[in-house]
């Protein structure tokens, strides 16, 4: 609780989204998942890596002006399930929640199975059924191969 206040205090934002408790080293992948690496993005995005906190080191991402939808943010849970989200208006946290793993995931990660039909030139997005959230385990609905957290993070689209 305390460290959250401190983290926001480091450089408070007036309005936007603070993505906190990102697993150490995963912040760049979080940006990628949220499409924030796109050159078109105009809002200020700041990243803090290896921030000390009561529960060890973590990464933090702040996106100014943008209130990212929880549906978008839930995708982060695939690579960093402990992440929390703070929606900020007028320097105040108006909404705070943990990311939730959706039941189905598509368009974020490719199947780790090289011989999976979704890795061929076919007109479908890879799609996965979430079979467990702690630890994260998803299953390709096509080839039925399962992927754990590390494999997911290696196969982000």
């Amino acid at each position: 609780m305390n460290d959250k206040k401190r983290a926001i205090k480091i450089s408070p934002i007036r309005k936007g989204t603070v993505i906190d408790h990102i697993r150490c080293g995963q912040s760049l992948k979080v940006l990628k998942i949220l499409g924030l690496t796109d050159v078109e993005i105009r809002d200020v995005v700041s990243i803090a890596m290896n921030v000390e906190s009561s529960s060890g080191k973590k990464d933090i991402v702040k996106v100014e002006n943008k209130e990212i939808s929880s549906e978008e943010l839930d995708k982060i849970s695939l690579i960093s399930p402990e992440t929390t989200i703070n929606i900020i208006r007028d320097y105040e946290v108006i909404k705070k929640q943990r990311v939730n793993l959706p039941k189905r995931v598509s368009g974020i990660v490719r199947c780790r199975n090289r011989n999976c039909i979704t890795n061929q030139r076919e007109p479908v997005d890879p799609e996965f059924k979430v079979i467990s959230s702690e630890p994260v385990n998803i299953k390709c609905i096509y080839c039925e191969r399962e992927m754990k957290e590390e494999e997911i993070s290696e196969n982000l689209l």
Partner: protein, 313 residues
């Protein structure tokens, strides 16, 4: 007559889509098909219907058995067994091939070298899709005919101690069979050299589901209390050299000496083709059921075709 309730699948893609009730329902239907499958009776319930056999990799036996099953029901077949003649060589996607083929035929049977191909096909096909094997993935008609054989030979699937021998690590047919058997009340014995044993993940799931299992390194030490011995091939490619392979292959040979230790009514099964796992001398013994098992593919596939087409005997 359209069937309701018991079997409301549009496609048969994976055995994991089946409940135990649905499996039993298919096996009951297969039993009814027996006299027709054996040629003692005839029917034309699928008269005028066309099955498209799309075999993107060769598997003569599977293709023939679908052809026989369709023709026993009075239907016709079209198709190809050689990927060179298919348009995929010209760069067409599977999705397009399926879209077109399903407009020519009433049911599509697909064999494909890539895993997940049948699921993809089911999304693009306007007609039922039957998976006849996708890469190292699913081959549900094989699993169903294995279950049918066990039930036919042993009266029931539950209550049996079933030994599965061979390449248990990479053999996905064996994984599907294990999954299906774990829905029944069976005891399982996995027989494989340590590097080819059942993946830990699958063993963990069996334990969680309260399914008892044993593990053995060779057939001889496991055979004596088995009701069914299911033998599969150990592939040469899995071993670093010929010497290593021969050493292992030798201890995986079922011969007259092996069956001397077995229960009198034990049943030996094999998905075929076999190489050296079962000596030909075993073929003439009452233990051998692998040729009957292959023949059982016909009534099982007939049952699936009629169910998917919504036509009852």
């Amino acid at each position: 007559m359209k069937l309701k309730g018991e079997f409301n699948k549009d496609h048969v893609v994976s055995i994991r889509d089946f409940s135990i009730e649905e499996i039993e329902y298919v096996l009951d239907k297969a039993e009814l098909m027996e006299p027709i499958a054996q040629g003692h009776e005839t029917t034309d319930i699928l008269k005028g219907k066309i099955l498209a056999n799309l075999f993107f990799e060769p598997s003569t036996r599977t293709m023939l058995s679908f052809e026989a099953a369709m023709k026993r029901l009075g239907g016709n077949t079209i198709g190809f067994a050689n990927p060179d003649v298919s348009s995929s060589k010209k760069g067409e996607t599977l999705a397009d091939t399926i879209t077109v083929a399903s407009s020519y035929a009433d049911i599509v049977v697909l064999r494909h070298p890539q895993e997940g191909a049948a699921r993809l096909a089911s999304k693009f096909s306007s007609k039922p899709v039957l998976n006849a094997g996708d890469g190292a993935g699913q081959h549900p008609t094989q699993t169903l005919l294995d279950l049918y054989t066990i039930r036919k030979e042993r009266k029931e699937i539950s209550g049996n101690k079933i030994g599965i021998a061979g390449d248990l690590k990479y053999g996905r047919t064996v994984h599907s069979l294990t999954h299906a058997l774990s829905m029944y009340d069976t005891e399982l014995t996995f027989i494989a050299p340590p590097p080819l044993q059942m993946p830990k993940e699958i063993l963990r799931r069996l334990s969680e589901g309260g399914i008892g299992y044993e593990q053995h390194e060779n057939i001889d030490e496991a055979v004596e209390d088995l009701d069914v011995l299911y033998v599969t091939r150990i592939q040469r490619e899995r071993f670093p050299n010929e010497e290593e392979y021969l050493k292992i292959a030798d201890s995986y040979n079922v011969n007259l000496e092996t069956i001397e230790k077995a229960k009198k009514d034990m049943v030996i099964m094999h998905p075929l083709p076999r190489v050296d796992e079962i000596s030909p001398e075993v073929d003439k013994t009452p233990f051998a059921r692998y040729f009957e098992q292959a023949a059982n593919g016909i009534p099982v596939r007939m049952a699936l075709l009629s169910l998917l087409m919504g036509v009852e005997l």
